[in-house]
Amino acid sequence: MIEEAIHPKDIYLRSDRFPHIWCPGCGLGIVLKSYVDAISKLDIPLDHHVLVSGIGCTARLPGYANVDSYHTTHGRAIPFATGLKIVNPELQVTVISGDGDLFNIGGNHIIHAARRNMDILVVCVNNFNYGMTGGQHGATTPEGARTSTTPYGNIEHSFNLPYIMASLGASYVARWTSLHVRQLTKSIMKAMKMKGFSFIEVISPCPPNFGKYNKFNDGLSQMEFFYENSVLDNNADLSEAYIDFSGKRPLIVGEFVQRIRPSYIELERDLIKRAMEEP
């Protein structure tokens, strides 16, 4: 065994920043792995990739990838990404950010990006809480789940992310857990080749916050829950694909939507062409 061996993915990382800040068992490192694995396998030149995030633990991810990256303001990753794509449609613009960032403070932006079928890929790492600020509950916290601000169990209905995204017309919608690392990599590669808005939810452990309050004492016990409860169903009725951790319902994963629908960039190009031809 060679101790000083260099990890083959280090060339896609800002390896001088390692070890990263994420907790033991946090799923975020696995999402970073899938992202760099995907870009290493695709034929898109590395300088065409842009990675954008808002604020949170997840939002630290672009700071570890050796591509152009933007760590923007809380909830505003999508407007930055949209601007980048419209100004330079050659770019592969990917947003990787947290559930709180994308669906609580930034909820309005993401629904409109999906509605417009904006040509970006959004990977939402859902750990069901605000990890960075101490595990508060939010719109993605499952009903009944405990968090630092719902110690008796959350009484609110939670967002069912693939259902929302599919209903708004996204071209590609998938959900995996951080255990489905190979499927996630393939999904990212496929989504990057799609036109229009692509959305991938990644269910991920957050051991010291969501985990601790919900009987997952470490990352491994939450991964074991994923292992035992995940059911692959690409044709799932998405209205039923909401998440709870009671263990009484399957955790539905898969590629739910892949459709060809005019994308924003295509429609805009067409509009410009028509406007120029007008006498």
Partner: protein, 100 residues
């Protein structure tokens, strides 16, 4: 149940015996561990399908125990890549040994 997509499953677990199993070379892997990056999450030694890895006694500079190869499992790695894929800390990878 979920398919973890181990490359090795194609050869070992399909139940459909290849016509000549001896013609198939079982890949051999060499595991590299970057001890100082490890945070002891246990994912690599839990999800290795060949049970090659275990927690070591070594304590790294952050106080974590990285994995090591189990005694007697020195040539058991089939280079499936699962440990490398699942490690959140880029602390383990596998090199396939090409032997003709």
């Amino acid at each position: 149940m979920i398919n973890l997509d181990f490359e090795s499953e194609k050869v070992y677990n399909t139940g459909r015996a290849p016509i000549n199993i001896h013609a198939f070379k079982v890949p051999l892997g060499k595991v590299h561990i970057i001890k100082e990056r490890c945070k002891e999450c246990g994912y690599c030694w839990t999800y290795c399908p060949k049970e090659v890895l275990e927690k070591s006694d070594y304590v790294n500079k952050n106080g974590y125990h990285p994995p090591r190869i189990k005694k007697g499992k020195e040539s058991a790695c089939v280079a499936c890549g699962m440990c490398e894929a699942i490690c959140p800390d880029f602390a383990i990878f596998v090199e396939e040994i090409k032997n003709e």
